[in-house]
């Protein structure tokens, strides 16, 4: 759960023209029609359920897979379900040039790894980062390796707060140690 280096197969969220999809909002990730669901285990099947071309993602993905997405991922609402649906599918991490602010902190608080890599759009455009590649992410040193291509690129290392919350297994556990100080 709290490994600071993980590996997995990647899915690159492209549109029908083969471009990285930007500004994917929380209604595309987890539509507001399903907000009454409060059980994490039941959220997975709705993941990306309103994103054209990716509605079958819950059937395609496997535990440990890593998502590569376009900038401003998770724009829009504050719903935690848009993070929890990926936890439900046991996705390993999400990698993006940038995230919506609320989305990013929701993920941090859930102990779910979200990492930023500014070179991602360029790597995708150049065909160096493709669906099916095996990637290894080092959260603390900030290195990402594309194992099958013997390539690496930088990601922004987790901040102290992010890595502390992540290693504690989420905000609640972190808070319990912190309030005892």
């Amino acid at each position: 759960m709290t490994e600071t280096t993980i590996s997995g197969r990647i899915w690159v969220l492209l549109d029908e023209k083969g471009h990285l999809i930007e500004n994917i909002d929380t209604d595309q990730i987890f539509h507001n029609a399903h907000l009454h669901i409060t059980d994490v285990n039941k959220m997975g099947e709705y993941t990306l359920g309103n994103l054209e071309g990716w509605k079958d993602f819950p059937q395609k993905s496997r535990p440990g897979d890593i998502l590569v997405v376009g900038r401003n991922f998770g724009a829009g609402s504050s719903r935690q379900q848009a993070v929890d649906c990926f936890r439900s599918l046991q996705i390993g991490a999400i990698l993006s040039p940038s995230f919506g602010a609320i989305y990013f902190r929701n993920a941090v608080n859930s102990g779910f790894p979200v990492l930023r890599g500014l070179q991602i759009p360029q790597l995708v455009d150049e065909g160096k980062l493709e669906t099916g590649d095996e990637i290894c992410l080092h959260f603390l040193s900030g290195e990402a390796q594309i194992i099958n291509k013997n390539l690496s690129f930088p990601i922004i290392p987790m901040s102290d707060v992010q890595s502390e919350i992540y290693r504690a297994g989420g905000l609640y556990n972190y808070g319990k140690t912190w309030t005892q100080d």
Binding site: N32, E52, T179
Partner: protein, 395 residues
């Protein structure tokens, strides 16, 4: 160098050093949850903290505004879960009759200048309109805030936006907001606080300030402020936007930043209109629409939906005869809440339907399968009379 508005507010709520990029632990004056998110907060709270009391029940609230009164069993049960928790904890609920939580917090004086407020509403940064630190957060954050009264926060950089020139009198706060959104897109203000300067924004009423600050969310910004003082802080970037030639603006499907002059999209046929939301749900928004609709009828076949932001706004609309005007022109008037934006209240669109709305989001699928345009109350009203997108002056 004096601190920016957001830095000053955060500094008055933390002992940590405040500077852009620093993560601080800050004290919260108000923490709230809605009928979406709220049930998750209650569930999380029980799992993590059992029956322990919240940190300060006088600073903790529920605001029901999304599915009000509940239109399905699931939502009814979720709201009751929050009421039961509130009863045990002694927390006040602004229940299904009260309207949009962020607006209720302003009206009640709970969100005021220099205070810090969080809740499960991604448009809570609307509170920047009253110089308050407001942030929407997810249910994990809010559960933690209920228990501890604190949150972690990365101090954002601040973008300075100078609005130059004077916008023509026939334009509105929404036109100004959409035009600024067009200029800033979702990149220039991304993850930043924004300070708006210039006569064009300083002269805005509270309703106008709410309109502008609400859509900082759509600019991907953290929060927007309209400071009284002249800019003297250190800003990460600055942008200047001339509004002297402003005309009525409209955002086309399916992104709020996809902004055009209304004249560029004129004669696009519409099936329905919506006036309301946290962006344009104040009394003066409906009064502006009523001035255009008065003694006219909405075009046959067009459905106009009206949702006041709060019960207080509803009262004012009653007292000022505005509801009479809206009713007589053919509008459907609902009780206060988030209808028109969130699924659960009124205002979904069917496949092929074209809607013009005063809301703040028109993402694909957000309000149903139809297409949604975003504009001012005046443009929505005029378009509902004409049955097609039109500027009020061209009626």
């Amino acid at each position: 160098m004096p601190k920016t508005v957001i830095e000053k507010i955060i500094q008055s709520h933390t002992h940590d050093e405040v500077a852009p990029g620093k993560i601080v632990w800050m004290d919260l004056d108000i923490r709230s949850a809605r009928d979406f998110g709220g049930p998750n907060v209650v569930k999380n709270y029980g799992r993590e903290y059992g029956d322990e009391p919240v940190e300060d029940k006088t600073k903790t609230f529920f605001t029901f505004d999304l599915c009000v009164p509940a239109c399905s069993l699931k939502y009814a049960e979720n709201q009751q879960v929050c009421r039961d928790f509130s009863g045990k904890q002694g927390i006040k609920v602004f229940d299904v009759d009260q309207g949009i939580g962020s607006h209720v917090l302003i009206e009640e004086g709970l969100a005021s200048a220099g205070t810090t407020v969080v809740g499960t509403d991604s448009h809570l940064n609307i509170l920047g309109a009253v110089d308050c630190f407001g942030q929407g957060m997810g249910d994990v954050d809010i559960t933690f805030a209920f228990k501890t009264g604190k949150t972690w926060f990365e101090v954002p950089e601040t973008l300075r936006v100078d609005i130059t020139g004077k916008s023509p009198p026939e334009t509105t706060a929404k036109d100004l907001t959409l035009y600024i959104l067009k200029q800033l897109g979702t990149k220039k203000a991304a993850l930043k606080a924004v300070e708006f300067f210039g006569e064009g924004v300083r002269d805005l009423s509270l309703a106008g300030r709410i309109t502008l600050c609400s859509m900082v969310t759509e600019m991907a910004g953290i929060i927007g402020f309209i400071p009284e003082a002249m800019p003297d802080s250190e800003y990460a970037n600055s942008v200047s936007i001339d509004v002297s030639g402003l005309t009525p603006q409209i955002a086309a499907p399916s992104s709020p930043e996809n902004v055009f002059a209304v004249s560029e999209l004129k004669d696009t046929e519409i099936d329905s209109g919506f006036i309301g939301s946290c962006t344009n749900g104040r009394t003066e928004d409906f009064a502006a629409a009523a001035r255009i609709l008065k003694e006219h009828k909405v075009k046959e076949g067009v459905m106009l939906k009206v949702v006041p932001a709060t019960r207080r706004v509803y009262r004012e609309l009653l007292d000022q005869g505005i509801l009479e005007t809206l009713f007589s022109c053919g509008a459907i008037i609902s009780n206060p809440g988030c209808g028109g934006c969130a699924e659960g209240h009124i205002g979904l669109t069917g496949e092929g339907e074209v809607q013009i709305s005063t809301g703040n989001r028109n993402f694909a699928g957000k309000q149903g399968r139809g297409k949604t345009y975003l504009a001012s109350p005046e443009v929505v009203a005029a378009s509902c009379l004409a049955g097609r997108i039109i500027r009020p002056e061209d009626l």
